[in-house]
Amino acid sequence: MNAPLAFDRPGRPSPEGAEHAPASGRHVGAPLPRPNAKRLLAGRGAYVSDLKLPRMLHAAFVRAPFAHARIVRIGLDAARAAPGVVLVATGEDLAKLCTPWVGTLDHFKGMKSAPQLPLPLERVTWSGQAVVAVVAESRAAAEDAAELVEVGYEELPVLADLDTALAPDAPRIAPGFADNICFRSVVETGEVDDAFAAAAHVVEADMAFGRHTGVTLEPRALIADFDASERRLTVHHATQTPFQFQDLYARHYGLPEARVRVVAPDVGGSFGIKLHVYHEDMAVIGLSMLAGRPVKYVADRLEAFVSDIHARDHRVRARAALDANGRLIAIAAEDETAIGPFSTYPRTSAVEGNQVIRLIGAPYRLDAYRGDLKVVFQNKTQTSQYRAVGHPIACAVTEHLMDRAAARLGLDPFDIRARNLIPDDAYPCASATGYRFEKLSHEACLARLKGLMDYDRLRAEQAELRARGVHRGIGIAAFVEITNPTPAFYGVGGARISAQDGAVIAITPSGEVRCTISVTEQGQGTEAIIGQIVADYLGVPQEVVRVITGDTETTPHGGATWACRGAGIGGETALQAAKKLKANVLKVAAAILQAQPGDLDLVDGQVVAASGGAARLSLAEVARIAFFRSDTLPPGTDAQLTVAHHFAPSGYPFAFTNGIHGCHVEVDAETGLVKILRHFVVEDCGRIINPLLVDEQVRGGVVQGLGAAFFEECRYDGNGQLLNGSLADYLVPMACEMPDIAIAHMETPTKDTELGAKGCGEAGTAAASAAALNAVNDALAPLGAVLTQIPMTPARILTALGAF
């Protein structure tokens, strides 16, 4: 692939399969395939679920059949006597080893949540909660014994919907709580009531969003290996955030941090699911301590549905006020979000709602805004951050209101947005909710999307097909995405979650490069882009750069991978480390060559003359001399061929990105089934390190958003029982239903870093469901139907149409 690429449909690779070999300094910005993908393609992936340790045992859990019940009796004798069983442990057993945790953050004022333990002592608070742990020689034997555990329950009243939980006389989720509200927050700017009173037009909507879950293809998996002789704990853990877990395991199990090692090898998908504390995972640490042997736990798919965090369970009542010219004046929104029986640890269950009320209206100029959030406890699986935290809800609310306003005013959806988007020349500025924007490119993205979609042609085609009874719809949705968070996100709230990252880069004796870095890889291409950055900023070919991630014992401490920070923060860390190392290399080379460092450069692994580029010395030769013949260096030469660098963003609290989606659908008005014809994205994540990887992040994100739009929903009955907790019943997006996705980019680098990169991992998910909702409503408009709920199931579409 040596021609400039159109990433809508990359060309086929050259027939001879030529390797990419761009010149040194040409890695960043090039669509290079991921070096580490070859291993996965050869069946050589090494996931935690694949790993076997000597004398390893397997855990299974007895789970609560009720959403809320008192535990009155636990009978373990039969299970303990079952073949292959090594250990059966209850909440009490583990509470002797593990201190409780509370999922609140200090900067969320007034937030409350009950303390949690690995396994409950007295009450179960959601159906599927682990109650008793069984450890045996095989998973099958552990499951056999788990069937023999007898637990007696006394059922308690269940909070299974928002209204029940919010009723004044509702049973409380935890003893002593005044109400069932975990967190309340109101954001208010300007004169909201006056704005609505004076508005020429007010549009409003009651919207509902289905609770969904991450469904990583590799379920949660870990092996805890406690060595009592040294009181040393090694955890092989399918996680995004090894350092966070090193800290948590050390603190809650009373171990010195340096004796806790968390290793995250290949991870089979994460998306925010694998950075929360799960009760089973915490229990497994204690089980290994009790058993004195490695204990493995891999959640099976049924367990994953009732124990992986859920997300996005919101209902929002929103209004927008506009003047007679279609200018947006004010938005008011009330968001009620249903979480679990407590707030998730350590990132809480409040961040999602908090971001919803702060992202509503974010792409637009607004005089006044009020967002009112209630985070409400439920006897359901815990909820927390999942890819594009809060964004899809905020975006759908905002963009649905914009389309309603356009319809009211008789404006085209592009037109009303053009009138209201924050102009590209207005930066820096702040949103009505207080987010500070360095520089965004909404207007440019809007214009680009119109061309990318061939919008006028689609409208003409739509009119023509409508005449023939074919209902196609076009929807667009603008978004703002939060990336590169500073300590303002978690650190200020007291959580030991790092906003900085660290890298150590070393020249090896052969003149190759080894980079260990705290950001982690779950397939998005972290290692690849770090390799590209190091190659360019050090001056070597990428092939000689080995990037190592995912091990607290071998990589420097850092925040790792979440909230779209890998490229922006991890990338800048690597860049600065590479520059430091380059300066050191050139100092040594200058000493060898009796030249001035400033007259030299490192290009493609060769020390060259800075002017003219004549080759002077290979990096391998510099390394050979430094490592093996330091006696030949001039006295006092400081040959530091390993450097460490830590970086935390310190300018804007977040590097916001922006973009806009378009969705083209055809609705079968007789069946309520929707064919997604095509999806379009224009996004601006700042400097693009690798367009191939950025585009595939966006595509994957879009499909997660389309899954939310049409398929995904955790459905509960009134007793708090999950009705569709299997992969046959919880519908994930599959190949036949998903469209091809066209992508274009704007590039507005952040000036807060030298690299200029922002995040892109959530851009796809943030607006896809909003664009789809608008597209379906556009298709249904002539039929007089409006949907305000996702997923847009056939039943909901046919109901809106009054078809039955």
Binding site: R9, R34, R44, S726, L727, A728, C736, M738, D740
Partner: protein, 166 residues
């Protein structure tokens, strides 16, 4: 006939060209047998109910879910996993196309995708995009959004055809 005991039973089958003989519990699925007993961990387990496609292997030449077959049912049959297909070079074009197109992220679905793609390409023609999507209709991927996978399979099919023609 008397009731047989639920203990171990003998199993002989061919895996990746080698004859394998083991004593196995009848309840062990082919997926668990391959992964735990033979350490062929390219075959992944994602749902244990045939809904995700991560565990596809070739059983007597056709893709089946290794989680929906007990190992004992494969007595006397030929099993081929991604490890075996890779070793005999049968996936080379697909591997190259997937790599070039970044048609994988976390890689957990990839072996199942490769097994299905291999079977599709064995037909010898170039399937259209709808046919490729249909062939993958039971393969769940949470990372890519599928388009890159469809592209890569299309590319590999074209490459195979060009090679056979040219």
């Amino acid at each position: 006939m008397t009731v047989p005991a639920p203990g171990l039973v003998p199993l002989t089958l061919t895996v990746n060209g080698d004859e394998v003989a083991r004593m196995v519990p009848p309840r062990t699925t082919l997926a668990d047998f391959l992964r735990a007993e033979l350490e062929l961990t390219a075959t992944h387990v994602g749902c244990e109910m045939g809904a995700c496609g991560a565990c596809l292997v070739l059983l007597d030449g056709v893709p089946v879910h290794a989680c929906l077959v007990f190992a004992v049912q494969a007595e006397g049959q030929k099993v081929e996993t991604v490890e075996g297909l890779v070793a005999r070079g049968a996936l080379a074009r697909l591997q190259a196309a997937f790599h070039e197109r970044n048609a994988l992220q976390c890689g957990f679905c990839t072996p199942g995708m490769l097994v299905n793609a291999y079977a599709l390409l064995e037909r010898g023609d170039v399937p259209d995009r709808e046919e490729i999507r249909d062939a993958l209709s039971g393969n769940y991927c949470r990372c890519t959004g599928y388009e890159a996978i469809v592209d890569a399979i299309e590319t590999a099919a074209r490459a195979a055809q060009e090679e056979s023609v040219g």
